[in-house]
Symmetry: C2
Subunit: 299 residues, 2 copies
């Protein structure tokens, strides 16, 4: 049996190109209008992974010439205190994007906080208004990870119209918005999840297979239709046996090689696109706010 | 080949049962608390079909003991005038549900009007906030037609968990919210539409096939998996040749008999559930508003 020469989708390269475009636009806006987009990132508590994410976001925000506002609050911050901060940021004309790093401490209702963010500044796209707009196919600020996946797919495949996309996972952060974006891009979309009977059979029919379950090694080589495009959103650190660790996706990468037409590696696939899309969303949100319009637009 | 004894899903009967429950609850609320839910229906222009719908809605609203407020505006009503009426209804404590009959005249931005309705009173569930809540799997006021379909399915099949549902059509009124509700009910969900390649092949894999395209006769008998449950949302009036007309669905009903396990007839299937769900949504919206909560709940 002949195998396919699987093409790796270089997320770093796509992300660098998007970031460079954002950076150039920010410089032009600053030069021509004297205006600079600002992104506020709010971290509650001292979760180590969250601290790394927030540090990366604030560093990259500054590196494209935007203003970065980091707000680090103690783990015992009350819901009311956090809501008061969100209200201040909503009212702050220097802040065009607001990102509240998840997860929040269990004493705080995440939904309440996400919905309190002004939809025009909701650059993570997780509040109910932007989610509704995406579902209705209206202009919206779109969650960064699924937006990054969509941009990779469109860059690699061009029009997605008529392709059958199977999304494994239905989280509010990735799976659900991913399914909506693919439907808006005129794919036929199947959403599979923990209750799905024979996920492998569904996966095998996919022209585009997006996997976002956080279960390392879930998707085997024989789950993939020969030539399909595979987007592996999972990223889990596992021990390698010698006291070291490595990052792996939800797809058994070695088995996918020779079967998939294209695949995102882990790391270096979807991951880098997420922050690039956050910067792009912030730029667009700022443009909309300066134009006096109250809705965002996807990258 | 043996054929299946296809069971007809009696929408009239299910709708009558739901309407009776709403009526009993309204009477109890009136008796015990002296409070009566109120539904405002707004019609712009003189579209004949819309006039029939609005008359049916107001009549049934009254018949379950709720207050009905009909607002009929001329076809040349401006967007600003309609928005002003919506604002008055939002502020009116006697009005717990607001329904703006679609389609609106082309001079009026429907999205703007639907989003202007207080989400707590948006009993049609078409505004961005309720759409977002449904997509996120949060409590919401759910569009009446897909809600009616879901209630029929749950009444007929019990738990839908793990079943493969194929929804043909992706309108904001039916297809998209239907896919979301089935996903929330733990179905594996495929959404097919005008750009889908080989819709028949997708349909043939469905345990639950929901068709909402408005294309009479689209779904043939050989599109249906033997034993599947078919929900036919389409309703189109066609000439019969002798100067008369009849109502037909999107499914060739005669061909589905003997193949489908269960099917909704047209008329008498999904149709009657829509108004029953509107009444149920209005009752729930009223309860939530009296309780001082600002979110609705599905029937």
């Amino acid at each position: 049996m002949s195998t396919i020469d699987t093409r790796l989708i270089d997320g770093k390269q796509h992300a660098a190109a998007l970031t460079a475009r954002v950076s150039a636009e920010v410089a032009q806006l600053d030069r021509e209008q004297g205006q600079v987009p600002g992104l506020a990132v709010v971290l509650v508590g001292t979760d180590a992974a969250s601290e790394v994410y927030v540090r990366n976001k604030t560093r990259q925000t500054s590196s494209v010439g935007m203003r970065s506002f980091a707000h680090t609050l103690p783990a015992d911050t009350s819901e009311a205190e956090l809501l008061a901060l969100v209200a201040r940021l909503n009212a702050d004309p220097d802040v065009h994007g607001i990102l509240v790093q998840l997860p929040l401490p269990p004493s705080i209702d995440s939904t309440l906080v996400l919905d309190a963010i002004d939809p025009a500044k909701d650059v993570d796209g997780l509040g109910q208004v932007n989610v509704g707009r995406v579902t209705l196919g209206h202009p919206a600020l779109v969650p960064c990870t699924p937006l990054g996946c969509l941009l990779l797919l469109e860059a690699e495949l061009g029009s997605l119209s008529g392709l059958h996309a199977v999304v494994v996972g239905r989280s509010n952060l990735v799976g659900r918005p991913m399914s909506q974006l693919l439907l808006n891009a005129d794919c036929t979309v199947t959403t599979a999840h923990i209750h799905t009977v024979d996920t492998a059979a569904h996966a095998r029919r996919a022209d585009i297979l997006v996997v976002a379950t956080g279960r390392p090694g879930l998707v085997r080589g024989d789950w993939i239709k020969p030539g399909a495009t595979v987007i592996d959103v999972g990223i889990t650190r596992i021990p390698t046996g010698s006291g070291k660790t490595k990052l792996v996706g939800d797809v058994v990468f070695e088995e996918a090689l020779g079967v998939a037409g294209r695949i995102t590696p882990v790391p270096g696939g979807v991951g880098p696109m997420t922050i690039a899309c956050l910067l792009s969303n912030t730029l667009h949100a700022a443009r909309r706010q300066w134009a006096g319009r109250n809705t965002g637009r996807a990258a």
